[in-house]
Symmetry: C2
Subunit: 236 residues, 2 copies
DNA sequence: CTAGCTTGTGACAGTTTCCGTCAGGGGCTA
DNA sequence: TAGCCCCTGACGGAAACTGTCACAAGCTAG
């Protein structure tokens, strides 16, 4: 299949920093030189930043990547958070670049993600100083609970200041504009809820585990919720 | 060409968070259902995280992206810098994820980049506090000069504390472990040099412009230098 | 300037691959 | 049970790909 060859071609180009001739690529891929020219023309038509110069060879611009890069969800969260830090305060010269990169990422993560990034309705009020860096937030505990499908008991203080205690399945962590949200299936309310991590007073495991989601209703609800949140759930 | 359709297929999958049936994809792409099955089989064989369940449809795992994502060089720099910030101080829970993401990026950017990241020989001494955020560094000025191919006069203080003035072609900016480096072609020394931005005392344009690199010697040297640095040059 | 590379483009026949259609198996939901 | 839907196999016609040849253009080195 030609697809494989095209990706191999991209890989070969990416590795080298010195120009490569079409004949070298041809022998490497066991095809004729003409095919290499055709392949590269197609790749260029698709937007690959390959530059060819007569008498020299082909060079692929650095600083790009169009490989089959796969980030785990928490790695993606780290990237998004890092871009936020950069655009907010770190390097003024790179602020614009950070915002553009974030925009590209959000567009890739789906339309829903873009909406949630722009939407600050859930995030009224100045909370930047308190939880921007997530220093004291129970990330590790929640991450482990999500992965282990461990039912949790959560003490929470909502936006109005009211306290509540609930039993819930932790489903995922979402980074909003400037706060982390924990998505849960609340066993008490039999519905999804989103808790701001910095408003969680305490949490403890119940020892019980919830099954992997089964049943069409729950799945549909979960998908709907994800589409609304643009969630990047943590832990598969 | 089938390649286009495969990428459109990936885009379609990525946008949705709800399962998509093969028939829906078939009508969207104006091909038969059988072709969709074949396409998806090929994509899965290539490592795409597409999950298919009977009676439901196809879902692509979130948190991944293997699209033809293209970041501009400064956007990539913002990402790398952001990951550095996250791993160093921001969110302890995401530190590991940030380092893994940085490792993936560096592996993609070429072997040379990985070397330069690990190599801190050029970076002896505690410079973290001074130039970590790049607040007062002449990014914009240098970026513009690189893009305009504008010859510069640079006053510099080297690691030993010695002052020098040189005329140089600015070629690119590189983010090292914790310092920004300006790669130049030094007209005085007729060789490449790497200047730490926080050691640049002053710089001014000479008004002269240097031609696009010509000549095999210069090109080869440039490529060699890039391979050593793993440079992500700024400005085409 | 000449000689030697190398990138590009066009044409063409042979071959390969792809595509749609038809048929059937298996798993899940209601 | 009925109804979806994911899968797999087979097959003929259509489309794309491939290798070969031929030629133009640009750069490098001497």
């Amino acid at each position: 299949m030609r697809l494989f060859r095209l990706f191999r071609l991209l890989d070969l180009m990416r590795l080298r920093s010195t120009p490569v001739t079409a004949t070298a690529l041809a022998t490497e891929l066991s095809v004729s030189v003409r095919s290499i020219y055709r392949d590269i023309a197609d790749l260029q038509a698709m937007g690959a930043p390959i530059r060819g110069e007569g008498g020299i060879g082909y060079v692929m611009e650095r600083g790009y990547f169009l490989p089959s890069l796969r980030f785990e969800t928490d790695e993606l969260d780290a990237i998004v958070l890092g871009l936020k830090l950069v655009s907010e305060r770190a390097a003024p010269a790179l602020g614009g670049a950070a915002q553009r990169a974030a925009a590209k990422l959000s567009s890739v993560l789906g339309e829903a993600q873009k909406d949630s990034m722009a939407d600050s309705a859930l995030e009224a009020g100045p909370s930047r100083a308190s939880n921007r860096d997530g220093g004291s937030l129970p990330f590790a505990r929640l991450r482990a609970a999500i992965a282990a499908k461990e039912m949790l008991t959560i003490d929470y203080r909502n936006a109005s200041g009211r306290f509540s205690t609930r039993e819930a399945r932790p489903l995922g962590l979402t980074l909003f504009e400037n706060a982390w949200l924990l998505t849960i299936w609340c066993e008490t309310a039999q519905d999804f809820r989103h808790l701001r991590l910095d408003r969680i007073i305490s949490l403890s495991g119940t020892g019980k585990r919830f099954r992997a989601e089964k049943g069409k209703r729950f799945k549909d609800a979960l998908d709907l919720e994800r589409s609304k949140l643009g969630q990047r759930s943590l832990g598969t």
